[in-house]
Symmetry: C2
Subunit: 982 residues, 2 copies
């Protein structure tokens, strides 16, 4: 700070070129004045725009002024007046101590008055009276129109900071205006001692423009430079201009005219250096400070330059150094052909524009706030509804003794805006198809969904039954409640389901919107971005995601807290429109929802407070998933006010709706293979899907960039409108399939069996969502894929799908069974998993062989069967070969194709257990959780069950080699049976 | 087109203000000339910059010129000359047909000559000679320095288009220059007929600036306007200026001086209207065309304006309409105080700048190409290495008969840049710790990894053993190869593992970089974005992701094909630096890798071609995952050239490395509970983790925003440096944990048991990666969590983890077993899963009770045991209560706590099977895949196994209520046993 304090010794006062309410309120300005020698403050429309736009410090005053019905210009002036008065008061001790020669705060008249003499005079008078501080400077630009205004105002005794001076001639004009004003005062018998003025000379902007024009004269390499070479003048014009202006200032000071005035006590009109931050990073950052130090000067610095000068500025009297060099700069400029008068004229115009832009922006901002406030008035019934939902949520969760009240409070306005204003829905008909959809992806906020449904009279179940046994108002949404189409509560899943619903609507020609409410925390789930990509790639313009950015996650603040920009940028980068709103401002929410109708998909990023509305919850950590106790509840309800009637809900639908035609009863699937023909089961599956597509208009297929492997490509080619390429994003694929299934489609999602593990949480939740028909098909099961190695082998898919609520598992072994089982899958309720094999296998069934869920096929049997071999898929063929080998050795075995892994054919297994000495299961799956486990659990106690399955880490190799190496081949079966015979 | 063709009837020729090599080559220019009446072409540095920067049409010529060692200015002129000559030739028929009065192409001298008379003359002469076409116009600006140059050049017989005219006075000056030049020619006895000139008067830019200055004089609402009101002049100044200039033109045409020249055959110097696209969208889009139609005029239009005028332009002679109104505009401007001379002077300066900027940019681009080419020269050994890798990959995959050669070919340069130049690694030591890491997230490109390792002499296994049984060169990378630390091949997983490696390096103070190579297709996986977020939140600046954007996925083009911006924007929105490069340009890759060292994490988005280097593969669909046959291979190898020695690899390490201290042998864990004390097993787990943290410096913990539920918060508080908050992103959490484990840490990742399903694919791949120690803990298992409902209940976790390669599963039932089993987990090889319970349970074990993997605890037993009840976790306590009830009824049962679910205590179970009539399993898990299955499969055939487990869709309710409702409570056990006794 020494450099700054030292400036005064050399006759220079430094001022700060910034003013914000924050620096007034937090003591920073006072500290600078008292500890760091700050002598004044300058402001301008740009500074005020930044101050007001970038903080909420002004909001209470704006709110009051709006309440008084003040116009935007009145509000602007009132805000500014308050800050200027406060700053004047903080600077007043300096003003007193330096005897009225320093300690000023400058306030600019409207930039639109730069060319309006009379307007400037009137506004300056008004501001001078309003602010009413002796150490105020009114800033008037030194334009042609400004000069007479300056003279008149100074004559009237108003302190003037003459701004926007670029040329020495203009300086001369305003200096003379000062002299004339003082002379007129003396003539009129008035004192001159207390009249203050500074002439603000601008610096860096001159160099920016001059450097550019010099650049036009600097030939690129290869051409010879002229003399004087323009390069040598770069970065020198502004300082030269200022130094020569100072010389002019000194001439005035030495004039008789001035001496007369000085004799009467007149103050010197100081030179003020403005625009002193270095713009060109190649230049020294204090280049506009160091060379201009001297008596009767002020330097008004931005914070950055203050910091730089405090750090490494060198203080000595310099303003009169290098005068001759400065004159040479001017002479050289002329030789080069640059007219400095044109430069300064342009800068004056640009200077005005530089203040008009932020001034306009500031007024536009105030205008918006004004409109905003009006719309808020009309929002009252909705605001009251939001409060009512809050009260109910508090009561429900306290009664339940668990739940997430604070996560509900943050989205009360969002939910209100949707259910009580925006959405087209019918509270009397949860099954209506042509209505807007709502998905609560942040499922832990279930209580506010129940509260909204209750208040809209859409449910009649007591909300205080929340989380109680038998109530449909569960802890997280489930389809036990008729308004819930997909279960949520595992975060990051709602948007994928919303994608599926949007696709279903498109297929069924329903022009409804889908609103999906997400938490900020769940946006960390990659699945949200898979879904976002899918939505934009598929142009799901009716999809609206609303992110409740309440900044607090379960165990800590959310990673980006209230930085809504992060979410906007991300959604935008995934092809969405993004709108950021105050999530507690119903007007803003409704206007964003309105905007979302124009194009989409749209993400509304709502900045909210967790626990909003209750003082001891709002924005507080440690309240996630905690209900209030009775006492806390009473306190909260007292804060939230009395119960009130909610806004009425109109029953509205989305246009007229024709239900899709009922699918024709499918005839038996035409299957045409020859016995022994080599065909992969994945081919049979793909072929059946395509055939079924003709009879089942509701059949839709999704695939994760492997349609040429899963063979859904056949369907895709035949029914491109019902095929949805989901790329390598299995979670969204599963979620979108669920959304489609929840809206009446028979959805089939396919990938390699191993990659369905990627979507396990989605499959699990799909189980809890209980869709009518949702099929998964996993191809490339087991080590039999061969060379690709373990990463591509589905070895856990049976275990995974067996442990899914209400699942069915089918595992065909040949083309015929693959086709028939695929048809069965489309008729089967709930989640069906079909497991297919990569390699070709021989057809063993006749084309019209019937296959039923829960059945099996006994392929070889006799009364002398010693053991039963139970196989499925690829191992059926191994078992059949083993059978022949064993038979040659005189050992008869029973061979069962357990194509229905879940449910198993218990009866046939029991019979085999009864009739043979033991069961041997053979499967291309880990030992744990697959066919062997299932069979053992079924027949346990009746007969020994032996299991051949994968038990060692697999590696690359030929398919048949791997079956052998991992002990599930024909030879392995023979060997095991022989072992058992011992 | 009629409007355009009609212009000529009114004496106006329209030219196009654009020129590109594409429009020359594709016939567009010819078409416009022949069919649409186009009369000329104008160009300028801005037009050339756009043309050259935005296409590759110029690249072959640039390449040739670079090869000849030409300078950037020479290259610029050569490119431009070619286009101008071609355009002149296309326009020549017009030139001939209109008898030398039209059909011109304009070429501008360097914008740096705008103030250099002599330089302009020399350059114009040179260009005139070089282009050597009669219908060429050289453009010279009408600046003060331009006027004498114009006169001299016209005198010399060079056609001049005088450009950048804004003011009428300047126009007058250049018109006189034309007259003087012609007069001088006559004096010198030279012909004047063939000298052509146009005076280009600029329009819209005048309005832009004038409108702005007028705006300064328009008071905002609430203040009264002056007369003349500035608003009325907006959008009128440019047209007025042009119309008055045309009047000046007509005066000249009527002068005696001109008539003399005309008598000698001189051509009229036409007025050309330039800058005629409308800038202000509020104005009519043909406002600078319609009012200026008349004899001896040219209007040079951008394409947009041509289109608009063809569509709705109205043609009539207008240029002499409204002359008085135009004069009034001038008069009003003066009254308002706007000096038009200042305006036009500023525009002239800005006009020069508008050409200097693109001219500089163009030269900089050529400079970069120049440097680039030089660096490409020095890249030769690396380029050759990349080709060598390509050849080897082709051979390997053809030999294997499967694999993904095209996916390797796209990243050959990337892999070469890393392994043969950038990475610090030691081909002799795959175990070195202080080296840079490489993760092949796009695991199907394994062959190129093997090829690189082979060529770098890091492996000695025959590359032709690819995908063969026993070879470590598997189809996708697995740790069978010592250079592979984590198995990849399930896409979207590499970056998460890279995160873990980066954390391990940070903990171990190794300043190595981690390079992760991804495919573009896998960026559809949400897990990539989970990982991206984690990397930026954790400031993993040493992490470099390289995305091989080869635009083709497996079954179709990738969703964004070659739109690299999508990837850049996404990575940036996730907090990364992003650099886009040509992925086949080794210089560009190395420079990006260099840049990535400055800050990070950095994503290098590499635009590549799938199948690069082989003509019939490059960019072709249908080649994913297909090897070439022998014949195709030979063809490909022929294209790829002869085998060559690769660039040598220096063995380099990252600084000095001190291995972390060996952890002390942990003492027996101090456990201090009282029998009967109520404590949740999750608490016991959390408490043990914290204690173990002291003895195991390599123990690290990750949690997914539920550390206060899983109780890892105890560890987090004690060892914040070894705790990594992973937020709600379980896939990345699991992947990062694997990365940490692969680099020597004992990693423990925790969430609710149900949410670990989210990471199943990562857990599966972790199994295939065979880490030394990787622990998962799932809390909140089963329906016993109560009110939160099914979405939060872990009911499939046992099935899921049982089917993981080499897994161990532990399920404590009280605080003591939870603590000891947690310690056991840290000592157990491979993947260990610990299942914990939400609610409190009584302590049943003494503090020093020993627990071993594969063990169990027989809690109640006697010689008279009739049945054995096998329970684990929460159900142990139900079984113990049932035991007492049954005992009261005289029935003795054996109670086993099967805390080690995998491996099971087979011996104890066999004994129980032998000694009692049947086994009853009771578990809080789906019936399928859990404890019951495991027990049944173990003892099958020896004794009946009965299973109590969850079989119906659960819902919200109190914990004890749910145990009862779903049949796994004390009462259910008693009832079942009584049933069995019947």
């Amino acid at each position: 700070m020494d450099s700054l304090l030292k400036l005064l010794e050399f006759g220079q006062s430094y001022w700060i070129d910034n003013l914000t309410r924050r620096m007034i309120k937090n003591g920073e300005l006072k500290h600078r004045v008292e500890e760091q020698g700050l002598g004044g403050v300058t402001s301008n429309p740009s500074i005020f725009h930044k101050a007001i736009a970038n903080s909420d410090d002004y909001d209470p005053q704006i709110e009051t002024l709006l309440g008084e019905g003040r116009s935007k210009i009145e509000i602007y002036e009132a805000l500014v007046t308050t800050d200027i008065q406060d700053a004047c008061d903080i600077l007043h001790p300096v003003y007193k101590e330096r005897k009225g020669q320093d300690g000023f705060v400058s306030l600019e008249v409207s930039p639109y008055l730069a060319h309006d003499t009379e307007g400037s005079i009137q506004e300056a008078r008004r501001l001078w009276q309003t602010v009413d501080r002796p150490n105020l400077f009114i800033k008037i630009p030194g334009t042609t129109a400004g000069v007479p205004a300056i003279e008149e105002l100074l004559f009237e005794g108003i302190n003037i900071n003459i701004t926007l001076l670029f040329s020495i001639d203009h300086y001369q004009a305003v200096a003379e205006a000062y002299l004339r004003a003082l002379e007129r005062r003396l003539e009129a018998g008035q004192a001159v001692e207390n009249i203050a003025s500074v002439a603000s000379f601008f610096l860096s902007r001159i160099d920016v423009l001059a450097d550019q024009l010099l650049g036009h004269r600097i030939p690129p390499e290869g051409r010879s430079p002229s003399a004087p070479h323009p390069e040598n003048l770069r970065g020198k014009v502004a300082i030269a201009n200022a130094k020569l202006a100072y010389q002019r200032f000194k001439e005035i000071l030495q004039s008789e005219r001035w001496k007369t005035l000085a004799g009467k006590g007149a103050q010197v009109q100081r030179m003020l250096w403005a625009s002193t931050s270095t713009k060109n990073p190649a230049y020294r950052d204090v280049m506009y400070v160091e060379p201009l130090i001297g008596p009767y000067t002020v330097n008004t610095l931005p914070e950055k330059t203050i910091k730089a000068f405090a750090d490494h500025g060198i203080v000595k009297e310099t303003v009169e150094e290098n005068i001759e060099e400065s004159r040479k700069v001017f002479a050289d400029l002329e030789k080069i052909g640059i007219d400095l008068n044109l430069v300064t004229a342009q800068l004056e115009n640009e200077g005005v524009q530089k203040f008009i832009d932020p001034y306009d922006a500031l007024l536009a901002m105030l205008e918006a706030k004004c409109e905003h406030r009006q719309s808020r008035q009309t929002m009252k019934p909705l605001q009251e509804t939001a409060q009512q939902l809050r009260r109910l949520v508090i009561r429900m969760t306290t009664e339940a003794g668990s739940g997430h009240p604070t996560s509900c409070l943050s989205c009360a306005e969002i939910v209100t805006a949707l259910f009580f204003h925006e959405m087209r829905w019918d509270p009397s008909d949860p099954k209506a198809r042509n209505v807007d959809a709502f998905i609560l992806s942040k499922g832990h906020a279930a209580p506010i969904l129940w509260a909204a449904l209750w208040e809209a009279k859409a449910i009649n179940e007591d909300p205080l039954s929340l989380r109680k046994w038998g109530s449909s108002l569960e802890g997280h949404p489930t389809p036990n409640n008729p308004w819930v189409k997909v279960a949520t509560g595992s975060l990051g899943q709602g948007l994928a389901a919303a994608n599926g619903i949007a696709l279903a609507n498109r297929l069924d020609d329903v022009d409804a919107r889908i609103y999906c409410l997400l938490g900020d925390g769940e946006c960390s789930e990659g699945s949200v971005w898979e879904a976002a990509q899918f939505a934009s790639l598929n142009h799901l313009s009716n999809l609206v995601a609303i992110v409740d950015v309440n900044a607090l996650a379960q165990s800590d603040p959310a990673p980006y807290q209230h930085d809504t920009d992060v979410f906007s940028r991300r959604f935008q980068s995934f092809g969405w429109e993004a709108i950021t709103v105050d999530g507690h401002d119903l007007g803003a929410i409704l206007s964003a929802l309105e905007q979302a109708k124009k194009t989409g998909p749209t993400a509304i990023i709502a900045k909210t407070e967790k626990g909003k509305g209750v003082s001891f919850l709002e924005g507080k950590e440690g309240w996630h998933g905690k209900p209030l106790n009775r006492e806390e509840m009473e306190k909260a309800l007292a804060e939230l006010g009395e119960d009130q009637a909610v806004a009425p809900v109109d029953s509205r639908r989305v246009g007229h709706y024709t239900p899709p035609p009922q699918s024709k009863p499918a005839p038996p699937l035409p299957v045409n293979y020859s016995l022994g023909e080599q065909i992969a089961t994945r081919d049979g599956f793909g072929s059946a899907l395509k055939k079924l597509g003709e009879f089942l208009p509701e059949l839709v297929v999704l695939d994760g960039d492997v349609k040429n492997s899963t063979r859904t490509e056949y369907f895709a080619e035949a029914y491109p409108d019902r095929f949805f390429e989901s790329y390598i994003a299995e979670q969204n694929m599963a979620g979108a399939a669920l959304g489609l299934a929840a809206y009446g489609k028979i959805a089939c999602a396919t990938s390699f069996a191993c990659f369905l593990t990627r979507a396990y949480d989605f499959i699990r939740m799909a189980g809890h969502s209980r869709p009518a028909h949702l099929i998964f098909c996993g191809s490339h099961a087991g080590v039999s894929i061969g060379e690709d190695g373990p990463s591509q082998m589905g070895l856990e898919d049976l275990a995974m799908f067996r442990a899914v609520s209400g699942s069915t598992i089918l595992y065909p072994c040949d083309g015929v069974s693959a086709e028939h089982l695929t048809q069965q899958a489309t008729k089967t309720q709930g989640i069906v998993y079909i497991r297919t094999t990569r390699g070709k296998t021989p057809v063993i069934y006749n084309n019209d062989e019937p296959f039923s869920i829960g059945g099996s096929k006994t392929l070889r049997t006799s009364k002398e069967d010693q053991f039963t071999i139970i196989a499925a898929g690829i191992t059926v063929h191994e078992a059949l070969v083993a059978y022949e080998q064993l038979k040659k050795g005189g050992i008869l075995t029973r061979i069962i194709d357990a194509y229905s892994i879940k449910p198993l054919d218990e009866e046939t297994l029991a019979k085999a257990a009864h009739e043979t000495q033991g069961l041997l299961t053979v499967e291309d799956h880990w030992l744990d959780g697959g066919l062997g486990d299932a069979v053992a659990a079924t027949v346990c106690g009746q007969v020994p069950v032996y299991r051949l399955a994968i038990t060692a880490e697999p590696r690359s190799g030929k398919p048949e080699e791997l079956l052998e190496r991992y002990g599930i081949s024909r030879q392995a079966i023979v060997q095991k049976i022989l072992e058992l015979m011992d």
